[in-house]
Symmetry: C2
Subunit: 252 residues, 2 copies
């Protein structure tokens, strides 16, 4: 049974794409079969893997114009359902479909032997983000330890609760992942401890933090994961650490 995980946060620039790419690569290094899905019309994940975006893409898949097999491409040993800047035009059509939030779930009922399926969401609670929550067993919220991100958390949790009630009773919060973390700053620690006191979230903070590492910004320019680009740096260490924590938690 694949672990299908939505990487979600409607706040922009919170490390969703960086997490899907490098967590995916870390799980692959641990010999898990991994599928990545780019749900963002800005296609950052697709570009990070230097995938050409002129073939079938996630929009075709959701509208039934191709099968999963038709649109999967491969880079760095990772399978990916790419996105495409046309996705923004497809979104209108998708929004008019009955059961428009259940299209991805339907498509993923036939996944062959993937251990992990990671879905990269756009910075909004759009139909595509909801599709990922309806299809997922669990969701991860990457965020920077800062006040504005903390304020935004409740909305994400409420949205997930509605999806769970109405469309996907299995949906669980896998956890909150702190990214771009700067150790030894009082402020970051204060935000973390605020969240640790939150009634719903207190046991939901991953122990692994992803620290600031400029190599995480640079690697996509070369179409590489952090493990090819800077295998001895903090980013590689932290994402492998996080992959270990996740696999232990899920018992694979």
């Amino acid at each position: 049974m694949a672990k299908i995980i939505s990487i979600i946060n409607n706040k922009g620039g919170t490390g969703k794409t960086t997490t899907v790419l490098n967590l995916g690569a870390a799980l692959k290094k641990k010999n898990k079969k991994v599928l990545l899905i780019d749900l963002d019309s800005q296609s950052n994940l697709t570009h990070s893997l230097h995938i050409q975006d002129n073939k079938y893409h996630v929009g075709d898949l959701l509208l039934g114009k191709c099968t999963l097999k038709d649109c999967i491409q491969n880079s760095e040993g990772l399978d990916i359902v790419p996105s495409n800047s046309n996705l923004i035009d497809y979104e209108n059509q998708i929004n008019n479909e009955p059961g428009r939030e259940c299209l991805l779930k339907q498509v993923l009922e036939n996944t062959n032997g993937y251990y992990y399926i990671l879905m990269d969401c756009p910075p909004s609670m759009s139909t595509l983000s909801i599709n990922s929550l309806v299809a997922a067993n669990s969701y991860i919220v990457p965020m920077q330890a800062e006040n504005i991100a903390f304020i935004g958390l409740d909305r994400i949790l409420q949205t997930a609760e509605k999806v769970k009630l109405r469309m996907n009773t299995h949906l669980e919060l896998a956890g909150i992942l702190f990214v771009k973390y700067q150790p030894r700053t009082k402020f970051g620690q204060a935000v973390v401890s605020n969240i640790a006191q939150h009634s719903i979230l207190k046991n939901k903070l991953f122990n692994s933090y992803i620290r600031q590492d400029i190599a995480l910004i640079e690697a996509p320019a070369f179409g590489q994961s952090i493990f090819e680009y800077s295998p001895k740096g903090r980013g590689a260490f932290d994402y492998m650490n996080f992959a270990k924590e996740l696999t232990l938690k899920h018992g694979y």
Copy 2:
């Protein structure tokens, strides 16, 4: 004649809100009358100024339920048209209005004596972002010096070109502002020089860069601009520097 400026980038987390807040505060310190407009339903700018979001907001304004005067609030000496998490419900109504992209322009025809009006856009080319381009004299694109942001620039320029052709012949690109800049990194310099060779953009890079400064992340937690929170730090220095460059360019 007010300088009406859209701060726009559909990529998330590129410092739009941080720029609107601190450029606004810098211009205020230079004794310019400044109005900020929060066009993002995630209301980060509104929260950064510790504005209560339970009164009239930008959604009411755009749908004609209140006047500009009714919804302006004040914090830190800055006037702001706040946003509200309800804005996401208003967006459906707004999308059904004839001339839905021209609502803000109409409202801003009666602005009293503001030198600068800065508009904070959400991370998408949504109707609200287009409203800001239709209402603006110029737009600023804040971005991190990284590859993915560079790839996204063309789409922003194309969108602005269509707005200019069809709805706002005055619209100009004021410039590209590099934020979260880390001096002395080869990679950042390489991205900057790539953009400097871009046919449209080469003369459009602001000379001022906003360097990494953790105080810019912390200040909003206290409802403060960088000039109250950390007046001697890099963030304050760089945003004041940028305000000077902008006012010289505009002749105020």
